[in-house]
Symmetry: C2
Subunit: 359 residues, 2 copies
Amino acid sequence: MSPEELPSMQGPVCPLPISQRDTVVIGHGSGGVLTHQLIRDLFQKHLNSPRLRAGNDAAAIELPASAPEGLRLVTSTDAHIVTPLSFPGGDIGRLAVCGTVNDVSMLGAEVRYLTATFILEEGLPLDELEAVVASMADAAAEAKVEIVAADTKVTEKGQCDKLFISTTGIGFAPASRRIAGDQAAEGDLVLLSGPVGNHGVAVAEARGNLGIRTAIRSDVAPLNGMIAALLQAAPGTHVLRDPTRGGLATTLVEIARQSGVDIALEEESIPVDPPVRKACELLGLDPLYMANEGKLIAIVPAHEEQAALSALNAHPLGKQAAVIGRVLGKSAGRLWLRTSLGTTRVLDMLAGAMLPRIC
Amino acid sequence: MSPEELPSMQGPVCPLPISQRDTVVIGHGSGGVLTHQLIRDLFQKHLNSPRLRAGNDAAAIELPASAPEGLRLVTSTDAHIVTPLSFPGGDIGRLAVCGTVNDVSMLGAEVRYLTATFILEEGLPLDELEAVVASMADAAAEAKVEIVAADTKVTEKGQCDKLFISTTGIGFAPASRRIAGDQAAEGDLVLLSGPVGNHGVAVAEARGNLGIRTAIRSDVAPLNGMIAALLQAAPGTHVLRDPTRGGLATTLVEIARQSGVDIALEEESIPVDPPVRKACELLGLDPLYMANEGKLIAIVPAHEEQAALSALNAHPLGKQAAVIGRVLGKSAGRLWLRTSLGTTRVLDMLAGAMLPRIC
């Protein structure tokens, strides 16, 4: 049989361009015509990677040219379920890119590629989805990463909340680099790149939880550029970590336990924007436990303190960077806070949930 | 300040071991104490990777020892939202591992690592979650892959349907290997590793959609072992693809369009288990459009046909492998089916949705 012997029976071609459908329908998750249409007319319009356009089940990536034994691959993954989808300073798309870019960067890796899955609720307006995907493309350009693979699934109405995005990041780090949560050592200084709590308060306000209007915006941002500058100035950096869910205090408790050291913080040195402090007082929340999406904790040896601080301060995202504490001796791993009143207390991880679905 | 100067104030330690809580609560998504408890007592119990236990934001992976210019990295990602969570022959955990293992393998890569995100609904019984995670661990062992990074989020009750899992796979392929959907060439043979439609029918039955009881089980399985054997026997293989959502017909239309060729199938040569055929007739569905999760399409040059078929038949997952069609000349990319009645028709991609949330 050859096509020439057969009548022309080209199958039906996508009858409705995507722009004329106004919401996600179940068929967009079928893997068939509507799925291909959604991918072509919405996702590929914004996420314009040749690897995505190739339409294979997977993406092939050339390894960096520099020596094989000289590099390690670094990967991280996060699900994003923030509500609402959009909030002052960002949206779920920007969050999904920055969150994973930042996590890969925290081992001192240069992040290069992202993959993304989208779980869509039937009935989601396509223009809302398109705004999120366009925001992802912008954030990826800002972070200089390429989205190389993606997948879309659709649930019936009421079986998910509009849109969830999972991202995975891939980067490369020099094989000799040993930045990790267990590397904090006695005498190290703890640096923080800027004020804490803005993301948590911005999302709470977007939900109407505050009861007041503030001008607070989420800090969601890719930190890889600032980290590259930091590591150039302070190549001996021991720990990098972004204090997201659970906030600054929970993250530092994690590090203290991983490294088996006590960490002491000076409350007065921890930057908190006054409107954030006020909003937290209204809500009965502690800014030290509020989520951040564009802040960096760096723990560096004493001899690199000034170089590290200068590098952070010189970066647009680190203008308010400060030294907020230091690493004490070996221990079971506790976090001490010397308060502005001169008293001292132990901070533990966040117990229970402060604000659900913050990221 | 040193810890010795301070009263003993070790923060509260997880008051309730995970086994005494019976469902997921919002606090499991907080990033704080409960999240750490869930990770330690449930996830790490089954997914026992040293990289996961390290508790960093990302996982570092040594690149394979063989030359840098000799390898390409291959990655793929998928969200899994199948309902119900468990069905004859598998569950969402096995599906999430196999689906991504298979996608990475389809570019001829050896898949090595997985990452996973979990979106949990408040109220999900923890024993149901644990069964899924244990199943993922079993499937990962079967596929010889390591789960190196993971993330857990929790939604309020009613904001997701029990459990969604996104996985991303990382593998490596020889840089010279060019297996992809656009490589089908005139004269190639189309091989299928076994009967189609079992996964779709098994899930439909588990939902009570069939109205009858059959013994049909999902075919969900990792295909990487069979593919390795195939590529050893038929290193000139042009295309590998697993016909999942959209089924055999949709997948072959995709390949025909990517390669710009027509493909002709012989209906009688396509294996379909009799109970699957009967169930499809009852449901008014076409097995050629039903989802599979453990079947392989291989398109090979004519001179490798016998070697490829023998390699597939020799593998436990390919005993019923058959040659089901061949690649015709250059075209816009159509799929022709010569039916058992001797007529010929064009098959298009699946229009609309056959069975939602099949994977």
